[in-house]
Amino acid sequence: MQRCGTMKTPELTHGFEIDIDRCEGTMSCMRACPTHAIRVKDGKARLIPEQCIDCGSCLKVCPTGAISAATLTIADLDRFRFKVAVPAPALFTQFARSDTPELVGQALLLLGFDAVWEYALDIELINRAIRDFVRRWNGPFPLISSSCPVVVRLVQVSYPTMVEQLIPIDAPREIAGREIKRLYSEKLKIPPEEIAAIYITPCQGKSISILQPAEEVKSHLDGTIGISEIYNDILFNIRRLEGIEPGSEGDSEPRKIFRMGYPEGEFHNLSESHYLPLTGLTDIINVFDDIEKGKIRNIEFLECHACPGGCIGGNLTVENMYVARAKKLNLIASIPVPTKEYLLEVERRYALEDFSLRAPLNPRSLEDGKLDLHERVRRKKKSNELMNALPGLNCGLCGAPMCRDHAEDVAAGIADLKECVFISKDRIQNLKKHYYR
């Protein structure tokens, strides 16, 4: 991935890649980026890694498909001896109503997975851990859910004073990964490294949370496969299964699973009066801004999912979000009463395990830590002053999404004020070279 030359924090990776050869510099990504982390210079998109929160907005809008998620394919899993799929609840909303979660699970086994993980229990455990945490908390409210990796990164980058309000409880998928490693290495007598716990993901944001967790530890999961990557194969196998008599293939394990799978809505059982569920980055940013201004009070808990509609609206899903939502409601309605064994297992694991994040979350430092206050003040004043020279139209032709960004880039010494077409008219001629081909 190409990066802006002067910005340095090479340790920071991201859950997607920009293929520079395929990039035609259309600026669609730059305009879609909520944190203004993309510049388009000389007809090519570049990422400012420190500002990227891995929301994947760029990936969705790229007309040439130059931006792709850093996910795995089934073939990548060959190096593992035992492969376990951890399907995001959103996966089950992607197929027709008659394609039950059990069928989807069996199709995953046919694809080469050795087991499909029952994720519901881990969600239940984290639900409880979060509920208890909210009750015990005596710091500033509202607390913010940390299961969406994009929301965590948004807070770390844009709302550093709110980082301590991110609930320091691990995501259900991580707890699932931990339990998978423990259970199967014990059962099969093989080292945990030879077991793959693969998250079937609705978005590339989960990839980054596995590649580089925000709390800077090693993930319990080994990678992600995008729903869109294996959608066709699952569908093909579901159709094959339909022609087979029940019980004749892949029985036992997948038969028992998903009876409790809550698709999305992970905290539906929290107190309603002090709880706001939010979806979509635009809405989340509006609410966070209102919190900063002190306008939202008496709210204890915000459940935030960066994709509109929640994870079913993820950028690696296939089904129309509203259709998926209808399927989800249908699935919730058909959740059976939990069995006694299930409830006992919840009690047993809740008492035994720790669900806290293994390291604290910190704000992400956006610039080279060596900059002193004097230099930052100088840049701030300089960029304010430069704003007077710029038209304020946010046309983006300089290669920065807004005039404000261009002014800041110039003040930081990484752009030239003359890249503005209002300041140098011959800039248009330069742009023509890139865009009239």
């Binding site: 550093p160 201004k293 002190g294 206050l373 004097h374 003040v377 701030k380």
Partner: protein, 144 residues
């Protein structure tokens, strides 16, 4: 200590819809300046409570915000009713807010005490019938 940056904001009394915007703006400035989160939080609490007091009680006011190497100074000056007994006003829970204000979730008598608690230097000057000026200095603590 040499002043690095100074900014002045104007506030209108009873502008509840705009309340919090100045402290929100200060928060963004401090973030851009790379000021750490705990330090910023204290400054913003002081600014927010000051802003709310002007909106709730005064006709108008100004908030002057200045940054030096080791501290942030806030001076909030308003044209308003003034505070007859400053010591009483500084007691937690003491409030003269109307029922309407309380219904909006304000006026729990924590404003001034909160400002004092989050400042390293804090002083109020007030003339009844004329207005109030609050001087608050928030310092950067290494351990914060």
């Amino acid at each position: 200590m040499a002043e690095l940056l100074r900014q002045c904001f104007v506030m209108q009394g009873r502008n509840f819809d705009k309340a919090g915007e100045i402290s929100g703006e200060i928060k963004v400035i401090l973030r851009d300046l790379g000021i750490n989160a705990a330090y910023t939080r204290r400054v913003v609490i002081v600014a927010f409570e000051a802003e709310m007091n002007v909106v709730m009680y005064a006709q108008s006011g100004t908030l002057t915000f200045s940054v030096t190497e080791d501290a942030i100074d806030l001076i909030i000056e308003d044209v308003g009713p003034g505070i007859p007994d400053i010591n009483l006003a500084l007691q937690e829970g003491y409030s003269t807010a109307s029922d309407e204000m309380r219904e909006m979730g304000f006026g729990f008598g924590m404003g001034l005490p909160n400002m004092k608690k989050n400042s390293d230097e804090f002083r109020i000057e007030s003339v009844v019938g004329k207005g109030t000026t609050v001087y608050a200095t928030v310092r950067h603590h290494e351990d914060a």
